[in-house]
Amino acid sequence: MSDISSQAPLSWREWLMTERPGSRTQARLGRTYTTWLRFCENKLALIGLAILILLLLTAAFADVLAPYSPYIGNLKDDRLLAPSALHWFGTDDQGRDILSRVIYGSRLTLFVVILVAIIAAPVGLLIGTVSGYAGGWIDAVLMRITDIFLAFPKLVLALAFVAALGPGIENAVLAIAITSWPPYARIARAETLTFRNADYIAAVQLMGASPMRIVLRHIMPLCMPSLIVRVTLDMAGIILTAAGLGFLGLGAQPPLPEWGAMIASGRRFILDQWWVAAAPGAAILVVSLGFNLLGDGLRDALDPKEEGR
């Protein structure tokens, strides 16, 4: 067991892939890199990632990319124009450029998706792991609460919440978050049950670790991969629910360029001026597809069964 330190300078790739990492950071980076390599094997997942990076860039540079204002149209001349060189996606009934509205709408979509993810996923993770690890009456109480939420159709429950809280994009986010944590809690609990009796958890107990420490530092990291995958796959559903609420007039309020609301306003002339509803519809389709492809790729890359290969 001699100390093999690098004599010759290593390439960054060798440094990442080394069997004998020299520091915590190197070990972590090496692991991330192998996961990345596994992810790259899936070409469709890379397409998904590309779509989402495109979405991020679009949202970030909406001011630069959008050729017109998303709010102010020309009611006199530009109402319901077909796609042309001037207006790539045409214009809507208020004479606004649809391309600009779709570009600005990406911000709202990201806003909804990210907020729901950072509210619902941690709540579900915490409830699921605590429930699975504690067992007994804590498990029973937490899981019955989860069951109550699961017993309602998601959109209907979200509708009820928005109706109670008042329409608006923030309340729509809140309502979607409240209705989407139960599946995460279920997954986290199921995962926790599979290793709560494992020797390595018993070993941590024998070190004298508190239950909170065990749940936070030893169980949660093990639940993360399947949860990340599930959340990514759910993103498409979240976008659709947000669009659905927008469509019903309970999500984003006019004149916000939310994609669901745009489809709703376009449905009145869907037969004669199809582009009004088609452009935001296509945007929802592409972004949902991107999240689904990414989720599939992550499932393969993060699968714990692939560990050690």
Partner: protein, 256 residues
């Protein structure tokens, strides 16, 4: 002299099934004590009950004369008593580096100078610095078990519970691990309680042993008694013959 570990009239029940019934053993400080028996005899359960991992329904467990409260163990107990598990593939967290596995007990017990302690713990079990930041899946079974031993020893316990520490390893690695355990026991003057179904391993490692069957201690005897065939209980005799008999068969069936 008070015993390092004293178990009196211990009972353990799993859903009405009595895994341990009226078990009493006493292990002196610095002693290496073996628990032998067939599968299901309750030897591992006894060890887990001491560690606080099995539901105790009757009796008492004392460490250094201090009786443990049932079910609850405090942090001081876990500094005093550590355990090495049977399966090295299941006892290391799959997503934590060796470094993290060794740091965790030090962090929990508030040790200072963790850097040096981790390096020293690894050296003590014969693993170099190169292993420190590896993940368990990058190690062999024997190396994993060394890490598990290092993890148990890093908090400087006085009593180490060994649950068949070598049964998942192949023969040559077994000998290495047993020698390592023997060496650390001498160096640190540890008290060992070792579970095994292998009489040869126990008689090599332990000074005294208890034979268990069906949740009871059948007989407690010094290891030398095994070699001299000085045992009283019928079951001990059967167990001994079973291990001997296997060897005899090998001799007679050897090609002429």
């Amino acid at each position: 002299m008070t015993a390092a570990l004293e178990v009196r009239k211990l009972g353990v029940e799993f859903n009405g099934h009595k895994a341990l019934d009226d078990v009493s053993v006493s292990v002196a400080r610095g002693e290496s004590f073996g628990l032998v028996g067939e599968s299901g005899s309750g030897k591992s359960t006894l060890l887990r009950a001491v560690a606080g991992l099995a539901p105790v329904s009757a009796g008492t467990i004392s460490i250094d004369g201090r009786e443990l409260r049932r079910g609850k163990r405090n942090r001081a107990f876990y500094r005093e008593v550590q355990m090495v598990f049977q399966d090295p593939y299941g006892s290391l967290h799959p997503r934590q580096t060796i470094d993290r596995a060794l740091l965790e007990p030090l962090a929990i017990h508030g040790f200072d100078n963790t850097e040096n302690r981790i390096v020293r713990a690894l050296e003590e079990v014969g693993l170099g610095k190169g292993f420190r930041f590896r993940y368990p899946h990058q190690l062999s079974g024997g190396q994993r078990q060394r890490v598990a031993i290092a993890r148990a020893l890093v908090v400087e316990p006085s009593i180490v519970l060994l649950d068949e520490p070598t049964s998942a390893l192949d023969a040559s690695v077994q000998a290495e691990i047993l020698n390592l355990l023997e060496q650390t026991r001498k160096d640190r003057k540890l008290t060992f309680v070792m579970v095994s179904h292998d009489l040869a391993v126990v008689s090599h490692m332990c000074e005294r042993l208890a034979i268990m069957q069906g949740g009871h201690v059948v007989e407690t005897l010094p290891a030398s008694a095994l070699a001299d065939h000085k045992f009283e209980a019928a079951y001990t005799k059967k167990l001994f013959e079973a291990s001997e008999g296997f060897q005899r068969k090998v001799h007679t069936e050897a090609p002429a």
